[in-house]
């Protein structure tokens, strides 16, 4: 801010002198003023780039010349290839989605009364560091629905449509008359009318039993009918107790569905009473009793957000959360500078709002959209912190991007040569995008 007037002051007394000497001093002064910047640039930008380039041609210890070996590793090493693949996904999706969302936000907020407040809220994530955002999203994507908000919502939606069952972990204990079949359990032997059947299971903690459950009682025989009991054959603190017989403190599986199956067809079905007893009619004679899978459905645990397959999209989501606000602000600025007459003219000509948006607003905003997308692309190529923090150790390999792989190769695996090669490769990737941006800027200036 202060330098332009200062420069003006120094040139003012020089004016009366001859033109030649003036330019002469100017050159020296210019060099003098440029020197600090040049030294800094040289030391902090040019030298590291140059050294990385040199280092990338040397082997691990830095003593022997390795030729293009490190660059060969770029395309043969498995983890670098995963990183490359993920980087492509990032570059394709993150900037476009962020820009698209930014455009939508910008256009819509122009029309609402509380637009500024809304913009403020959308822009706010930009005020947080990448590291903090990473930690936030590590929690958001936590597997446990009680901790991770993403899974809490997902499970909530899911459970509205599919109820969880009462006995998710129940399973046959030792020497059980039951065997597993298709997620449920079925008796090994067919039952006969007049039989008293016991269907013991274990694995349901007492405090997870339905509230209505009462102490289990042994079945009473009824002629012509099949009676039985299904209960939790496990006494707290004692283990199984009397195997296959209800002990005093053991509780019946209230509400357990029981089906009698003959030749693959359900011939009768019932529900266990609060004390676990049930009665089946005579038709069930000769059938096998089945506790269908519906009784044992595991509670839905949500998506594996940070598992191998979803981890990259999940992290891209958090990136968009941060950067959509940035896109919105730039696009809104472009929108503000747009000639209103054109929009008015289009409306007068009978275009509807969608047509105005599609045919007038977007084409006029194209240069801004391009700048935003390209800037985000450069930003995305170097993404590191979000991936490093959000991906748990077990799926870091699957979420790998080039910048992270550079760090891992250089600092965790002690392969500075390969790491330098990745750095050079990243630089090469950024150059065309930068060139595009610089060229656009020049054209803009010329105009």
């Amino acid at each position: 801010m202060t330098s332009p007037p200062a420069a003006g002051v120094t040139t003012a007394p020089a004016a009366p002198r001859s033109r030649k000497s003036v330019t002469g001093t100017r050159k020296a002064v210019a060099a003098l003023f440029l020197l600090p910047a040049l030294v800094l640039l040289g030391a902090l930008v040019v030298y590291p780039i140059g050294y990385s380039l040199v280092r990338s041609f040397y082997d691990q210890s830095g003593d022997g010349f390795a030729g293009f070996d490190n660059y060969e590793a770029l395309f043969t090493d498995d983890s670098i290839r995963t990183a490359l693949k993920n980087n492509i996904i990032w570059v394709v999706f993150a900037p476009t989605v962020a820009t698209a969302l930014g455009l939508i936000f910008a256009v819509l907020t122009e029309r609402v009364r509380w637009g500024t407040a809304f913009k403020l809220v959308v822009f706010m994530p930009m005020a947080i560091s990448m590291l903090a955002a990473g930690i936030i999203f590590r929690l958001v994507y936590d597997q446990d629905p009680e901790k991770g908000v993403a899974n809490a919502v997902w499970v909530g939606v899911h459970d509205t449509f599919a109820q969880a069952s009462a006995f998710p972990k129940a399973h046959p204990g030792r020497d059980s008359p039951l065997r597993a079949q298709g997620g449920g359990f079925v008796t090994k032997e067919p039952v006969r009318a007049g039989d008293r059947v016991t269907l013991p299971l274990v694995g349901v903690a007492p405090d997870q039993m339905p509230d209505s459950a009462k102490k289990a009682v042994a079945p009473q025989a009824e002629p012509g009918k099949i009676t039985g009991t299904t209960w939790q054959d496990f006494t707290r603190g004692k283990g199984v107790g009397t195997l296959g017989k209800p002990d005093p403190s053991e509780v019946g599986y209230a509400g357990m569905r029981i089906e009698a199956v003959k030749d693959g067809k359900v011939v009768a079905s019932t529900k266990a009473a609060d004390d676990g007893t049930f009665t089946l009619p005579a038709e069930a004679d000769g059938a096998q009793l089945r506790l269908p899978a519906g009784n044992f459905k595991e509670p839905y645990n949500g998506l594996d957000w940070l598992g191998p397959s979803l981890v990259t999209p999940a992290i891209i989501g958090s990136y968009i959360w941060m950067w959509a606000g940035f896109a919105m602000v730039l696009i809104a600025a472009g929108l503000a500078g747009m000639p209103r007459e054109l929009l008015e003219a289009a409306r007068v000509d009978g275009a509807n709002e969608w047509q105005v948006f599609r045919r007038v607003t977007v084409p006029l905003l194209a240069p801004v959209l391009a700048v935003v997308t390209v800037t985000l692309m450069i930003n995305v190529l170097k993404v590191f912190d979000l991936v490093f923090i959000i991906a748990p150790g077990s799926s870091q390999d699957d979420a790998d991007v080039l910048a992270l792989e550079l760090y891992r190769k250089g600092f965790a695996e002690d392969q500075p040569g390969v790491a330098s090669a990745i750095a050079v490769f990243l630089l090469l990737l950024v150059i065309p995008v930068m060139w595009f941006n610089v060229r656009r800027l020049r054209r803009e200036v010329r105009r």
Binding site: D144, V204, F234, G239, D397, R408
Partner: protein, 462 residues
């Protein structure tokens, strides 16, 4: 004021006495102290080594010296260690700064040394790292005082793993007993289960816990090292110490039948998705601290009944309401083969910048004085046999420490810590990653072996 001056006087008296007693051992130190410290040389006892009443340890006066100690410890561990450093500062007058390092520590030190500013002392968690540091000429051998202190307080086995080519470089300041299974006492009581002695018992205990309605195991699979520790305990007990050493040095291949047997045994627990809290996928996203806390929170219905790991688990138990010894109990890793395994770990202090101060600090860390300070704070085991067991804050801790000392030289050091870092100590790579994949897919023993061998060959070869 009166009391301070009187203690000051007694200390001075003790110092003079100690100067005579310390004799040849402290001779070089006192000589150095005299020439360096001209401020105190005019006082009569200025050249005497700093000496606390009731200990045989003599430390030089180091006023004006600054030292840096690098270690990867965080949280409570770091806080407690800083108290030990403060004690050193108090006794010698030196200023010691703790430099937080990150894993892998050897690469962290590499960049520090490349930058020309190595810490004076680094805590290296692996014997492999000590060897690397020696090979690269970073580590400086211990002086006579530190060696004497070490010989006095450490068993031969613990001295030897700090040696490279017969020269003593490392002082194992901290030890870990990695052959423990912690359990929620309430869960075991509800299930009517007892502490198992053999692997078979462990599996049936797990079944009993599962029958009672609680998932038996919590595994912090997001951190690969918890998985390598599982494997090492099974392998050490099943294949025996000789094979263990051979595998650690990669003299036998990972495709060896003994590895197959160990992995198959491991799959008896890892392979049952109902036995692991959250199933394999859940475990792979659970970090070690969470794997502990979820075992000891939730009243009668914790996420799991048991969690396997070393003595340091109690630091994390401290974050819950559970009390070690009553709510959280521990049993030794059961015998898979003939004898129960004792896998240990530890952090060794290695001098990177040789100086009087660094040598004095190494000596101090080898002494029972330093270990006692941290032992009292809990969550810490010392391989130092001169530490009084009563310094440990609770029964559980005391038992573990006594077991460690009693094991004498029969312990084996953590195998993945002996392996090259790229294989045994890098998140998402090598053994860590391969065992994570095995946890996810426990049926694929042969494939896991192949992957392990491939990664090991690459890491040991380079």
């Amino acid at each position: 004021m009166v009391s301070t001056s009187s203690t000051h006087r007694t200390r001075r008296a003790a110092q003079t006495a100690a100067a005579l007693l310390a004799g040849a051992l402290a001779l070089s130190l006192t000589a150095c102290g005299g020439s360096d410290d001209d401020k105190s040389s005019d006082k009569p006892s200025g050249t005497a080594p700093g000496k606390e009443p009731g200990t045989s340890l003599s430390l030089p006066k180091l006023n004006g010296t600054t030292l840096e100690v690098a270690a990867v410890w965080t949280g409570a561990e770091q806080k407690n260690f800083k108290k030990v450093l403060a004690e050193f500062e108090r006794r010698t007058g030196a200023k010691v700064t703790f430099v937080p390092a990150q894993d892998p520590v050897i690469n962290f030190l590499g960049s520090k040394i490349a930058g020309g500013k190595p810490p004076d002392i680094a805590m290296l968690p692996q014997p492999g790292a000590i060897k690397q540091a020696v090979d690269k000429n970073w580590a400086k051998p211990l002086g006579a005082e530190a060696q004497a202190e070490l010989a006095k307080n450490y068993s031969q086995g613990w001295q030897d793993i700090g040696k490279v080519d017969g020269k003593q470089y490392g002082v194992y300041y901290k030890a870990a007993n990695k052959s423990l299974i912690w359990y929620n006492a309430k869960v075991f009581e509800n299930a009517g289960a007892g502490e198992p002695k053999t692997w078979k018992d462990l599996v049936s205990t797990a079944q009993t816990v599962y029958d009672s309605g609680v998932t038996p195991f919590s595994i912090g699979g997001a951190d690969g090292w918890t998985l390598t520790d599982w494997f090492e305990n099974v392998y050490l007990s099943q294949a025996g110490p000789e094979k263990y050493d051979q595998l650690a040095q990669h003299k036998i291949k990972w495709t060896d039948p003994s590895v197959k047997e160990a992995l198959t045994t491991l799959a008896e627990i890892w392979g049952k998705k109902d036995f692991i809290a959250g199933g394999a996928n859940g475990a792979l996203q659970t970090e070690f601290p969470a794997s502990v806390t979820q075992t000891f929170t939730g009243g009668d219905q914790p996420k799991a009944g048991m969690v396997f790991e070393g003595d340091f688990v109690q630091v994390n138990i401290g974050e819950t309401k559970a009390k070690v010894g009553t709510d959280a109990k521990v049993f030794p890793f059961p015998a898979v083969g003939d004898t129960a395994p004792v896998v240990s770990g530890g952090d060794a202090a290695v001098i990177l910048k040789d100086s009087k101060g660094a040598q004095a600090l190494a000596t101090f860390l080898a002494s029972p004085d330093a270990a006692t300070v941290q032992a009292k704070l809990g969550g810490y085991l010392s391989p130092n046999k001169s530490v009084d067991p009563s310094s440990y804050p609770n029964e559980v801790q005391r038992k573990m420490a006594e077991a460690l000392i009693a094991a004498g030289d029969d312990f084996r050091f953590d195998m993945s810590d002996q392996a090259p870092q790229a294989f045994g100590g890098t998140p998402g790579k090598g053994e860590w990653k391969d065992l994570q994949d095995f946890l996810k897919n426990p049926g694929d023993v042969a494939g896991t072996q192949q992957k392990l061998e491939q990664d090991a060959a690459q890491a040991y070869g380079s």
